[in-house]
C-alpha cells in the first residue's frame, strides 16, 4: 500500500505537504494507549457546559430551529456579543456590520489570515503559542515569524523584540494574552508599546482573547480598546473556555466593517453559518451564564494557587500564571529535556503533561500542565511529580 500512498502524495499542494506534523505524535499515542493516566494534558475546561446553556440548546432543537441562520450569525446573538464586548472590553462594534459568528476562534483566525494575506506576507506571532498559529498562517500562504517570549519577562512579549522582527513584508501581529500555553498576560505599558508599533508600521493586530475572562489578578485590557487601534484590530473571541463550551464550536470575530465584509465572503462560501443550535446556546451563555462563568473562574483560580505552589514545592520552578488554566513549569534543573521529562513522568508515574516544544522551540525546557483538572487528581499528580523529581536527583 506504500506505493499508492507515495503515488497520491504528488497531488498534495506543496504548502500543505510542508505543514509540520505534530512533533510529539509518538508521545500522544503513548498517552492514549494507557488507561490509568492522570492527564494534565488537556486544553479545555473540566466542567460540563452549565445546564441553562445546554437546556437552551435542547430547547432550540425541540422547537425545530434546525435551518441555516444568516451568514453572519443570528441578529440576536450578534447584538448580545457586541453588547458583551462593549461592556467588558470597552470597544464598540456595530452588530450589523462588524461582528461575524464563526465555528470557534479557529475558523475566525483562518478567515482573518485568508482575508489579510497575500503569498509571502509575514505575520509576527509570539512563541511558545497555541499549535495552530503557524500552520494557519502557512495555510493562507503567509510566512509565520515567531518572536520568543521569555520566562524572565513572565512570558509577556517585549515590544523591542517585535520591532526587530518587522520587515517590509510584515502585514500583521498576532497576540494571544492570556496565553496558551504560558498563562501570561500583557502589562498595560507593553500592550501600549505594541499598539504604537502597529500604528508606526501600519500593521494589523489580530488579538485572540479566548482566555480573557480567565484573567485572575488584573482587569483584562484589550489592545482593540487602545486609542486608534479599533480600525486596525481584529478581535477574536468565543465561548469555549469561559463558558466551558469547547465542543459546541462557536466563536466570533469583531473587526471594522470592510474587513468583516471580506471575512464574511470567505465564511459564506466555505461555511455558510455557525451551527444554529450552538448559536442559540451561546446566546443563553451571554444572557444568563455570567454567574456560572464566575464560579468556574473562581474554581480555576483556587486550583491554580495550590497547584503552582505544589509544583514549586516539588522542585519545578513555575511562575504564578495570571491567566488561562495552564501552569508552564521549567524542568531545566532536572537535566532532562521537556520531552524526556514528559515521557519518563508518563511511564513511571502515569501523569501526562505536554512538553513545551509542542508549542514551538521557545517552549523547550518547559512543560504545560493544565490545572482545569479535579482537585483530587491535581493533588495526586503533585505527589507523583514530587516523587518523580526526587528520583531524578537521587
Amino acid at each position: 500500500m506504500n506505493g499508492s500512498k507515495s503515488a497520491s502524495e504528488r497531488f498534495i499542494a506543496p504548502h500543505i505537504a510542508a505543514l509540520p506534523p505534530s512533533g510529539i505524535r509518538k508521545f500522544f499515542d503513548l498517552v492514549n494507549s494507557m488507561d490509568d493516566v492522570i492527564s494534565l494534558g488537556v486544553g479545555e475546561p473540566d466542567f460540563t457546559t452549565p445546564w441553562s446553556i445546554r437546556e437552551s440548546g435542547i430547547y432550540s432543537l425541540e422547537h425545530g430551529h434546525t435551518a441555516y441562520t444568516s451568514n453572519l450569525g443570528t441578529p440576536q446573538l450578534r447584538r448580545a456579543i457586541c453588547d458583551y464586548v462593549e461592556k467588558n472590553y470597552h470597544v464598540s462594534y456595530d452588530s450589523k456590520s462588524e461582528c461575524l459568528v464563526t465555528i470557534g476562534v479557529s475558523e475566525a483566525l483562518d478567515l482573518a489570515f485568508r482575508m489579510l494575506l497575500s503569498p509571502g506576507d509575514e505575520v509576527i506571532y509570539t512563541e511558545p503559542c497555541y499549535v495552530s498559529y503557524p500552520a494557519e498562517i502557512r495555510m493562507a500562504h503567509g510566512v509565520p515569524v515567531p518572536v520568543t517570549t521569555r520566562c524572565e519577562n513572565e512570558f509577556a512579549v517585549e515590544p523591542e523584540d517585535i520591532e526587530k522582527a518587522i520587515t517590509p513584508k510584515t502585514k500583521a501581529i498576532l497576540l494571544n494574552f492570556p496565553c496558551n500555553p504560558t498563562g501570561a498576560v500583557m502589562p498595560e505599558n507593553k500592550l501600549q508599546a505594541v499598539a504604537e508599533l502597529a500604528k508606526k508600521y501600519d500593521l494589523v493586530v489580530l488579538t485572540d482573547e479566548i482566555y480573557s475572562e480567565l484573567n485572575y489578578d488584573n482587569d483584562h485590557l484589550s489592545i482593540a480598546s487602545l486609542p486608534g487601534m479599533k480600525e486596525r484590530t481584529i478581535f477574536l473571541h468565543g465561548f469555549s473556555k469561559a463558558f466551558a463550551m469547547t465542543g459546541w464550536r462557536v466563536g466570533y470575530v469583531c473587526a471594522p466593517a470592510a474587513m468583516t465584509a471580506a471575512m464574511m465572503r470567505i465564511h459564506q462560501y466555505s461555511i455558510m453559518c455557525a451551527p444554529t443550535v450552538a448559536q442559540e446556546a451561546a446566546l443563553e451563555a451571554l444572557k444568563n451564564g455570567g454567574n456560572a462563568m464566575l464560579e468556574m473562574k473562581e474554581s480555576y483560580r483556587s486550583r491554580r494557587d495550590f497547584f503552582v505552589r505544589g509544583l514549586n514545592d516539588a522542585g519545578l520552578q513555575c511562575l504564578l500564571p495570571h491567566g488561562a488554566f495552564y501552569a508552564f513549569a521549567s524542568v531545566k534543573n532536572t537535566g532532562l529535556s521537556s520531552e524526556e521529562f514528559a515521557e519518563k513522568l508518563l511511564r513511571t508515574e502515569h501523569v501526562a503533561v505536554v512538553p513545551g516544544e509542542a508549542f514551538g522551540p521557545g517552549g523547550a525546557g518547559f512543560i504545560r500542565c493544565c490545572y482545569a483538572t479535579s482537585a483530587e487528581e491535581l493533588q495526586e499528580a503533585l505527589i507523583r511529580i514530587k516523587r518523580f523529581v526526587a528520583s531524578l536527583k537521587g
Binding site: 500522544f28 498517552v31 492514549n32 493516566v37 492527564s39 494534558g41 488537556v42 486544553g43 479545555e44 460540563t48 497555541y130 499549535v131 495552530s132 496558551n180 483556587s302 486550583r303 494557587d305 495550590f306 501526562a352 505536554v354 509542542a358 508549542f359 482537585a375 493533588q379
Partner: protein, 161 residues
C-alpha cells in the same frame, strides 16, 4: 473567609482543613480554627451524608411530606407548636411557609404504617394543629443540590492543545 469556608463545606462537608486551606490559600491551622469556631458557635450545626434510595437500609425507609395548618399561639406565634413538633425524632425537616398552609414537615419511618400512626396519634392531636395533608415520597431526583441519578460516564480527550 468564613463565608468561603461555609460555601466549600456546603458543597462537600468531607473536605479536610488542609484541603480547604489549599483552596483558600490560608494555613491549615487557620482553616481548622475557623471551622472549630463555627462549630462551637452553632453556625455549623452538623454534617450529614446524602445517600441514594438504593443505599443499604434504605429499602425499608419511608418518607412523607406533611403540610400542617396550625392556629398560632397568642404569645409564641407559630414557634411554640413548631418547636414542639420538631422534638419528635420522626420529624427530619420542619419549616414555616407562607401560603395555604403553615408548616411543612418531612417525616421518616420504617413503614407506611409507622408514619401513618405518627400522623394520627401524635401530630394531629397536638393542640393548635388544625389539619394535616400527607404525601408519601415515591422517588427522589435531587437532594441538597445533589442529583440522585448519575449521568453516563463521558470520555474526554486525554490530551489536546
Amino acid at each position: 473567609m468564613k463565608d468561603k469556608i461555609i460555601s466549600l463545606l456546603r458543597a462537600n462537608a468531607k473536605l479536610s482543613a488542609q484541603e480547604i486551606a489549599d483552596k483558600l490559600n490560608i494555613s491549615a491551622a487557620d482553616a481548622a480554627g475557623l471551622i472549630t469556631g463555627m462549630e462551637k458557635d452553632g453556625v455549623i450545626r452538623g454534617y450529614t451524608a446524602i445517600v441514594s434510595d438504593e443505599a443499604p437500609g434504605s429499602e425499608t425507609r419511608v418518607k412523607a411530606l406533611i403540610e400542617v395548618k396550625v392556629t398560632p399561639n397568642r404569645d409564641g406565634g407559630f414557634d411554640r407548636v413548631a418547636r414542639r413538633i420538631a422534638k419528635f425524632p420522626e420529624v427530619t425537616d420542619l419549616c414555616l411557609l407562607s401560603g395555604s398552609y403553615d408548616l411543612l414537615l418531612t417525616v421518616e419511618g420504617n413503614s407506611l404504617q409507622q408514619v401513618a400512626n405518627f400522623v394520627s396519634a401524635k401530630l394531629a392531636t397536638i393542640d393548635g394543629v388544625i389539619s394535616t395533608s400527607t404525601g408519601f415520597q415515591l422517588k427522589r431526583y435531587k437532594e441538597s443540590g445533589i442529583i440522585m441519578q448519575s449521568d453516563e460516564e463521558y470520555e474526554r480527550l486525554k490530551i489536546c492543545f
